[in-house]
Amino acid sequence: MAKPPTPPTARGTRRSLPPQALPWLGLLALALALPFFMSVLPWLKAWPVDWLLPLADWINAAMDALAPALKPTTRILSATLEWPMLALRDVLQWLPWPVLVLAVLLLAFHASGPKLAVICLLALLYIALSGYWRQAMNTLALVGIAVPLSLLLGLLIGIAAQRTKIGARLVPPALDVMQTMPTFAYLIPLLVLFGFGPVVGLIASAIYACPPMVRNVHLGLSRIPGEIKEAATFAGSSAWQKLFWVELPAAMTQIKVGINQTIMAALSMVIIASVIGGFDDIGWEVLSTMRKARFGESLLAGFVIVLLAVVIDRISAAYASKDSTQRTPLLAGRIGYCGGGLLLLCAAFKLSGFDPSITDPAWAKAVATWLDTRLEGIVVAYGNALTAIKNTLFYYYLLPLRIGFSQAILPFTWGFDFTQLMRWSYAIACGVLALGLSWRSGWRKGLLLAALAYLLYFGLTGMPWLVFGTAIILLAWQAGNLATAVFTGLALTFILVTGMWERAMLSIYLCGAAVILSFLLGSALGVWAATRERASAVIRPIADTFQTIPLFVFLIPVLMFFQIGEFTALLAIIAYAFVPAVRYTENGLRQVSPELLEVATEQGATPWQIFWQIKVPLALPTIMVGLNQTVMYAFAMLVIAALVGTTGLGQQVYLSLSAADTGAGLIAGLSMALLAMVTDRIMQTWARKRFAGMASTAH
C-alpha cells in the first residue's frame, strides 16, 4: 500500500530553504571563518598596497599629455562663455536697483498674482537692505548664463538620448555620474583646461545642472502619444519639422518641470563655484565669513542665496504650471502693467537715494552680533548637556557602527571590558536568535539579524572586504537583478583596486549612520505634516531653507556645539538629507485616496489601523523614493562634511585638490559617485519589482 504523500505543512515549507538562501549560507560560513585567518593572511583584511592599480598616475600622465593639445580649444570656449557673463554682470550692476525690483515684481505678478509679487518684493528688499546687492547681482549674472547653457545642453542631449540608440545607452549613466560626482573632484582639470575665473564655476554649474533638463526632455518626448506623431507624418512634415513644431510643443509641460529643476540645481552650485573666486559673488561672502566662524554674518549672507532661490523658483514654477494655451493677459492689460510700472519706476528712482551696493547697513551688523552672542550664550548654558548627548550617541551608535562592539566596548566608553566570555555569549545568543527567527518568520529575517549582529561586532571598517563586497553583490543580485549585481561588482572592484576601500568604508559608515537618523527624523516630520495643515505650513519653508541655504552656514553653530569630528559631520549631513524624507513622506501620505479611507472608517478601523495598514503601505512607493533621495543627498554632503574633519573620501577629495592631483581627485570623486549609483540601482530595481503592481492600486 502506497503511503499518501504528506501535504506540506506550513512549517515544512519554512524549514526547507529556497535556493536563494544557499549563497547567503555560504557567505555566512565564509564570514565566520575569515576572522580566524586574517592574522595569517593579512590581505583578507586590507587590500595590499602592492596590488593596487596605479590608475591615478595614468590619469595624470594622460592629462599632462592631452592638456597642451586641448588648451587652445578650451580657452577659446572659455573666452566665448566669459564675454556674455561679464556683459550681463555689467548690465545688472549698471541697472538702478529699483528697476530690477520692479521688473521682478511685474514678472511675479504676471506669472502668478499679487501674492507671489509681495513675496518677491520682500525678498528683494531684504537683499537690497542687507548690503549684499552687488554680490547678489554678480551671482545672478553667473546663474543667468549657466541656466541657458544648461538648458540648451540638456535639450540637445535629451533629444539625442531619445532619438539615437547610442544616446539611449550612454546618456543615463553619464547623467548619474554628472549628478553624483562632487565638483571639487574635477576642479583641477577644469582650472587647467579653462583657466582661472568665473567661467570654471559656470562650466561646473552647467555640468551639475543639465541632467534634470535631459531627463525631463527625454521623458516628455517619450510620452507623446503615437497618434500625434503619426498625424504629423501624414501631414508631410520632415523629421526636423516634426520635432520642432509637434513633438517639443507637445512635451512642453514636462520640459518646463525640467527648466525649473535646472534653475534650482544651478543656484545650488553657486557656493561651490565661488571657491575658485574671480567674481566677487555672494558665495564668496559666505565662504569668507565661514572662515572667520562668524555665524551671524554668514547666515545673513546665506539668506540672500535662499531668497534668490525662492524668487527664481516660485516664478519659474508658476510659469511651468501655467497652461500655455490660456492667454490671460490681454494686450490692454499688458499696456496697463507697463504704464503702471513706469510710473512706479519714476517714483522709485526718486526714492532711491541710497545705493545698496555700497551701504554697509548697521542693522545687519547688529543682527549678526546678536546672533553670535546668542550662539555663544547657548554654548555656555548648555555646553555640558550637549557634550553628554554627543558622547552618548558617539559611544552607543557611531562607534559600534564604525569599529564594532569588538573594539568599541571598553571600560571608559561602556563602563566595562568586553571579555572573551561575553564575546562568545554574544555570538551564541545572536546565532540562536537568528536561527529561531528564520524558523518562525522566514530565512530572510533570520539572515538580516545575523548580518546585523556580524556588522555590529566587527564594525564597517573592521569587516573583511571580501565579506562586505560579496554581501552587497548578493544583495544587488537578489533584490535587483543580474545586471545590477554585475554593475555593483565592477564598482566595488574599482574602489578596491584603486586603494579607496578604507576611505570608502568610512564614508559608507558616516552616510549610513546619517541616513538612518535622517530618514527617521524626516519621515516623522512628514507624517506630522501630512496630518496637520498647520504643521505642514511651518515645515515646508523650513525644509526649503535647509535645501537652498549653503550648508557651510550651519557648520559653524554645529561646530561650536559639538566641536570638530564625526558627530558634527553627522549632524551636518542630516541637516541636508532629512529634507527629501519629509517631502516624499508627506506627498505619499497625502496621495492616498480619501474614498479608500472613508471605506476603512466606515468599516470600523481605528486611526492607528488606518495609518499602518492602509496609508503606509499605499504611500510606501513614494516614501521609498524619498529614502533613495535621502541616500543621494547624504552622499552629496560628504565633501562638505569633510570641512569639519572627517577622514573618508571627502577628505581625499580636498587632499587631491590642494596637491593638484587630478588623478587621485577623479578617483575619489568617482568612488563616491559609484557608491551612490550602486545604492540607487539596488533600491530602484528592488522597488520596481516590489511595487510593480501597486502603482495602479495607489490611485
Binding site: 573666486g277 572662515r291 572667520k292 566662524a293 554654548v379 557648520l555 559653524i556 570638530i564 596637491a659 593638484a660
Partner: protein, 318 residues
C-alpha cells in the same frame, strides 16, 4: 629728505640687485591684477601693495581668487601677483608652477610668521605647568574627549595643509591624538566655543592672525627648532624620533607671474621692496575684524602714517 634717501638705500641694499638697475614703467596702461584671497591679513597686504602701485602710476585691479586656484591663474598670466603666500599651507600647485618657472617668488613680506601650539589663557588653570611643553605630558587626560580617550585631543591643521601637529606629538612622544580640523572656520569655531565654555583646548595655530589680537591665547614653549631636529633622530629630548622641537619659522612671501618683470619692470621692483611689519599688520587686522573697519580705509590710514616707508619702495625702484 635725508631720511628718505637713507631708507631707500637701505632697502635697495637689503633687496639685492634688482633695485640697483633703474627700472622702466613698462606697460603702464595695462591693468595689474592682484589677488584677494580668503583672509583679512591678505586683503591688507594686497591693498597696500596695490595702492602703492597706483601712486607710482599703475592701474591696479583686485580680483577675488581662491588661495589654491590663484596659482593656475598666475601661471597663465591672467592674474599677476599674490601678496601673501604661506610656506606652511602653500598647495602643491604652487610648487608645480614654481618648478615649471611659470611663477616667481619675489621675497618675503616682512612680517614674522610663527606657527606653533596654542591654548586659550583659561586652560592654564587646568594644566598649571603651561606654557612649558613638558606639562602637556601629564595633562593629557584633561584634554581627552570621547573620540580620543585615553589620549588627549589636539586640533591639527586641516589635512590638506599637512599634519604638523601629529608629527610633533610623535616626535615629542606626547599622548595626544591629532584631529584634523577640516577648515580654518572649524579651528576658529573650536577656539570660540572653548573660550565661551572655558573648556580645555590645545591646537596648532599661526600668526599673524586676527584671532590672536581678539582672544587671549598663549603659545606653548617648545625646544627651539634647528635643522638637526628634522633630520637627526638623536637630536632633542626624544632620541628615537625627528620633529621633537618647535615649528621651523614659516616663510610668508610674495609671488608674481613670471612675465611680470618684463612687462612692468618698475612695479616688479616696488613689489619686491614691499615689506610690512607684523605689528602693523595685526593692528590693521584687529581694526577691521574687531572694530568693523573697512580694508580700504585702514590701508589709506596706514599709507598716510607711513609715507616714508612706501615712498622709499618707489624711490628704490626708480
Amino acid at each position: 629728505m635725508l631720511k628718505q634717501a637713507i631708507t631707500a638705500t637701505l632697502l635697495s641694499l637689503s633687496m639685492g640687485l634688482s633695485a640697483v638697475s633703474a627700472a622702466e614703467m613698462g606697460a603702464k596702461d595695462e591693468t595689474i591684477k592682484l589677488t584677494i584671497n580668503e583672509w583679512t591679513g591678505q586683503h591688507i597686504s594686497a591693498h597696500i601693495a596695490g595702492e602703492v602701485l597706483k601712486k607710482a602710476g599703475y592701474d591696479v585691479e583686485y580680483v577675488t581668487a581662491g588661495y589654491d586656484a590663484q596659482f593656475t591663474a598666475m601661471a597663465d598670466g591672467e592674474l599677476h601677483g599674490a601678496m601673501e603666500v604661506w610656506s606652511s599651507n602653500a598647495p602643491d600647485l604652487w610648487k608645480k608652477m614654481d618648478e615649471a618657472g611659470k611663477i616667481k617668488d619675489i621675497g618675503e613680506t616682512g612680517f614674522e610668521a610663527r606657527e606653533g601650539f596654542v591654548y586659550p589663557l583659561h586652560v592654564k588653570a587646568l594644566c598649571p605647568g603651561l606654557p612649558a611643553w613638558e606639562a602637556l605630558k601629564d595633562c593629557a587626560a584633561k584634554f581627552a574627549t570621547a573620540e580620543t580617550i585615553p589620549q588627549g585631543r589636539l586640533i591639527d591643521y586641516p589635512a590638506d595643509w599637512g599634519t604638523p601637529g601629529a608629527d610633533r606629538m610623535k616626535g615629542l612622544d606626547l599622548p595626544y591624538k591629532a584631529i584634523p580640523a577640516g577648515s580654518e572656520g572649524a579651528l576658529i569655531s573650536e577656539l570660540k566655543s572653548s573660550i565661551a565654555k572655558k573648556s580645555p583646548l590645545f591646537m596648532v595655530f599661526w600668526q599673524p592672525h586676527w584671532a590672536l589680537a581678539e582672544y587671549d591665547v598663549e603659545w606653548v614653549d617648545m625646544p627651539k627648532a634647528e635643522d638637526a631636529c628634522f633630520n637627526d633622530k638623536s637630536w632633542g629630548s626624544n632620541p628615537n624620533e625627528v620633529n621633537d622641537c618647535d615649528f621651523a619659522p614659516a616663510r610668508v612671501f610674495k609671488v608674481v607671474w613670471s612675465g611680470f618683470e618684463e612687462k612692468w619692470p618698475m612695479a616688479h621692483a616696488i613689489l619686491e621692496n614691499f615689506s610690512v611689519g607684523t605689528q602693523d599688520q595685526q593692528n590693521m587686522m584687529a581694526a577691521i575684524d574687531q572694530g568693523g573697519g573697512k580694508v580700504e580705509a585702514e590701508v589709506a590710514k596706514w599709507l598716510d602714517d607711513n609715507k616714508e616707508t612706501w615712498e622709499g619702495w618707489i624711490a628704490a625702484a626708480k
